[in-house]
Symmetry: C2
Subunit: 325 residues, 2 copies
């Protein structure tokens, strides 16, 4: 299989493309290393770091702050909206995707990356910039995933502990050319709610009854949860949330196959803190279902450092247990 540059191989072989000053696009073949929630979230995050590197004049992977200390473009708010036909669990080896990424200006310490992840076929139109935020937020394309990453530059504080992270941007991070997001779409109201109220919901969801709460203790897994610089890995927050969901569902009489067949229609994660490798997390899972459709659940998962009482993450998911139709 050849692509138009004459290079043998697969989509994913060709370089990503810069469409304009704030938009990049890439063609991807789904590989084993990006299947499953944890791996796909990790891949999305790497694409955010690559987009910022390509468009903002900074090598995000090796970034340093003004003091010469490593600066990490850490994840603060992460949302994936999907459809019943195309969701993270539906990704299969060999699927062809087109990922288009648009960056938005949030000042010197932060940046917003929006990604559309579309199934690619011969009908898919030619990809052109600029990235359209209105279309993104209105978007209900059943063959598209809509991903939001709001990130902040941080460094380790003087103690060196993962619990002591401070804001810290690189001097070569050029953001002024990025467009500003239209204010109604800002994720700030969403994550402020999560930070304040430990849920992304606005009170109890109408017409639904509670399942749980399920309370669990999770020991940070040094063999998988720690990233290359010793911090709790951002993608692991999703894996840990899934770990809790699976156990919450076991309490509801479901088994591992129900879990593996789930469809996550929407998931939001707010990252409020990190943890040291010896940490234990106290996790609380609260679910809400409609009478008559118990497979359709809205779930909030709160991760708390059991030693310090600090909440390190809040996630709300809309998930169904039936799998792809």
């Amino acid at each position: 299989m050849k692509d138009e540059t004459g290079t043998p191989g697969l989509p994913g072989w060709a370089s990503p493309r810069i469409l304009d000053r704030s938009t990049v696009s890439r063609d991807v073949t789904v590989a084993p290393g990006m299947c499953g929630t944890g791996l796909f979230v990790g891949q999305l995050g790497d694409w955010t770091w690559e987009a910022v590197s390509a468009l903002c004049g900074v090598d995000v992977f090796a970034a340093r702050n003004r003091q010469g200390e490593p600066a990490y473009l850490s994840f603060y708010y992460f949302r994936i909206r999907a459809g019943r036909r195309f969701h993270v669990g539906a990704l299969n080896f060999g699927d062809r995707l087109r990922v288009t990424s648009g960056l938005f200006n949030y000042g010197s310490e932060s940046v917003l990356a929006l990604h559309t992840v579309r199934r690619q076929d011969s009908d898919t139109p030619v990809d052109e910039g600029p990235f359209d935020p209105e279309a993104f937020y209105a978007g209900k394309d059943e063959d598209c995933l809509y991903v939001e990453n709001f990130n902040r530059w941080i460094s380790r504080g003087r103690t060196g502990s993962n619990e002591d992270l401070v804001r810290s941007s690189p001097p070569d991070f050029h953001y002024a050319e990025l467009p500003r997001l239209p204010a109604p779409h800002s994720p700030r109201a969403d994550y402020r709610n999560a930070r304040t109220n430990r849920t992304f919901l606005d009170g109890e969801p109408p017409g639904r009854l509670p399942t749980g709460p399920t309370r669990l203790t999770y020991a940070v897994d040094a063999t998988r949860d720690i990233n290359g610089v010793g911090l709790l890995y951002f993608a692991s927050y999703f894996s840990i949330t899934d770990w809790a969901l699976l156990r919450h569902w076991r309490g509801l009489g479901r088994d591992v196959h129900d879990f593996m067949g789930r469809t996550v229609l929407d998931q939001r994660m707010c990252y409020l803190g990190n943890a040291d490798p010896e940490a234990e997390l106290a996790i609380e899972v609260t679910g809400w279902v409609r009478p008559g459709t118990p497979h359709d659940e809205i779930v909030t998962v709160v991760l708390e450092n059991a030693g310090t009482g600090q909440v390190i993450a809040v996630s709300t998911l809309h998930v169904t247990a039936e799998g792809t139709q």
Copy 2:
């Protein structure tokens, strides 16, 4: 940063290069999604699948056998040789690597991929094919990882269970143009030993005393260990082995920081079977240390399906607890 094609961005932005009929090369920036044993092993495996796709005329990611069923280029033998200065645990965000991959002919049902993973800097010579297997097997470059992947085409058998996998190659897998590996270097003796004797060692290592055995039970984690097609993910075998090593070391009085600071100088894995998502694994860890240098250990880990008694993997590691010098 621009590369020579004028595309802004990082190494890793540019396409991989075909050097000759059996060799590809790529420049990579180490990202969070490839740090840590499990993630890096997963990335290496994807590079093997990409190399075979580029060179053998088949889309490995979407391959089908003659019956039209999905065919997976599954991992059978996986080895990573490293040095004290450059090992998997030493990878850091932003590191520049050059990965050169050579494929070797093992007939229609199998293939061998050899990868050199080198730290990249301005002194690194221009990369030219063909891949030199003699240099690979003799290689002791302290800034190079030497990776071997011996893979077999398999499909699910009629039962659909992960315990019933059968050989099964795609008709469009073109291997005849690949060179044959010089016989002395074949991994066959190595993996036959593992398969027969449940270790890669030739008996007890001279001059060393045993630690353990440590016996553990591990429940397959459906949130992380299952790949996109419902099989136990090949990279998870390494994560599970690490899980066992960490607990073996706790029994020896070491803690999570000793584990995180480890250097794995050499690791071999032989994949003998798969498991269903509900499976529990019985794991046995046997270590060998020299008196006076207890931090320097040779460890064999055997993973067995606790329900069936079938050994699904054997791994032998040479690992030190001191971390990078």
